[in-house]
Symmetry: C2
Amino acid sequence: MSYTFRITGKKKIKLKSFDPEYDAGLTREEADAKTAALCKEMMELQELLYAASDHSVLIVLQGRDTSGKDGTIRVVTGPLNSLACNVASFKVPTANELAHDFLWRVHQQTPGRGQMTIFNRSHYEDVLVVRVHNLAPKKVWKARYDHINNFEQLLVDSNTIVLKFYLHISKEEQEARLLEREQDATKAWKLSAGDWKEREYWDDYTAAYEDAINECSTKDAPWHIVPANKKWFRNLAVAETIVDALKPYKKAWLKKLDAMGAEEKALIEEFRREKQTTK
Amino acid sequence: MSYTFRITGKKKIKLKSFDPEYDAGLTREEADAKTAALCKEMMELQELLYAASDHSVLIVLQGRDTSGKDGTIRVVTGPLNSLACNVASFKVPTANELAHDFLWRVHQQTPGRGQMTIFNRSHYEDVLVVRVHNLAPKKVWKARYDHINNFEQLLVDSNTIVLKFYLHISKEEQEARLLEREQDATKAWKLSAGDWKEREYWDDYTAAYEDAINECSTKDAPWHIVPANKKWFRNLAVAETIVDALKPYKKAWLKKLDAMGAEEKALIEEFRREKQTTK
């Protein structure tokens, strides 16, 4: 599979140049098989990440309502060992969170060495929803792109592998998914009156996402625009991107594992057993 | 009293140009009287800071062993209402703290709006003790000056008034204080075998402090080199600097207080009562 959705360095992308229907010519079955294999590989890499404890992994998931953030977490990172994998969801900030700078609550949730954290929404909301709904003056949110780049560079300099995903759906696909939620009693809880209202700001969000991606893509903390109309392709694209990002470290992590004493190796064994009993 | 110890913007100061004995020609009695008046003014300003809740105050105290960080906190900020004033002490980092970037534990302790926090030691230790004792490679601590400037700018942009103090004592004064600690049973607990050992690195710390001050002084987050051989002058200098930094906001805070409803004003009354009963 070959596609270039990775954005590195300041660009001037427009989302309309990216096809949300893209599927690399794969069938669903082919994609699901690839994703399953990649998830297996990811679990092995996670074990080495944990064993070596030299790096952290931070995965940022952003996307409009119904774009599939929860689904991606369930399918792609769900199989990982939760001893060293954590999901941080960022909802409407509390009064105490609002009393601090916008990165305060986010920084607290960053992964330690050996750990992987998935941000379900993130600090980017402070240049997305905050901008679209004028929750802060332009001067304030404009300054945040630099703050975000500096913050992510701090994490990168502290051995964090940072991967950011924008789950890219079309306006038509969102409508279909909102309607589906209305009709499916098991999914209705996910639908709030605000979702249809929020859809009216589609173009404003497009502009805000384009700026966030263009302003905050760096070699070390790239954005990935993931075609997400087809959930199975979205899962494959995210899984492959994560595995591709971790694989280059495999040799070094294995080397560190080999050099470990018996006591440390016993801890890794415990990690393996935990995985088998909890999954 | 007139002196210029405030460093703003990148400079090339040398500590030897600053006289640790400086006292502006005051007697101890004169200085203590001034300090007491300033502390009273600071308490009034703190009440307004808390009432308006538009700004935060971060005070960073750094200095060599025995330079008087604890004493400054006791005398200068001790009288403040602890409902809205907090001291954060940064000791040797824990394993979990070391597993994160060096600002992770520090960011968690930053003050929310209306609050004042005093850092007893701080993120600067990561370019001081870490550098002097080679606890991280030069490449790592060198990169931290930028990270610190970016981090402090984030706080400033979120309405934090940042004041950094280096308590400047001479090598002779430190010797006298260490000897005094050895002989005074009530102070002996503060003396560790490491203190005399650490003194051997005097010149390395001088170089590290000079770089920290020169690299990380900005208009919005200035360093202040406080003559600290005379404790009573040190207290006066710190108290005056804090009061001078807060006074320009007084009018705006008062205005906000005036515009408040009865319910909000009742909360301020509670704050006042709390102060009277706990002090």
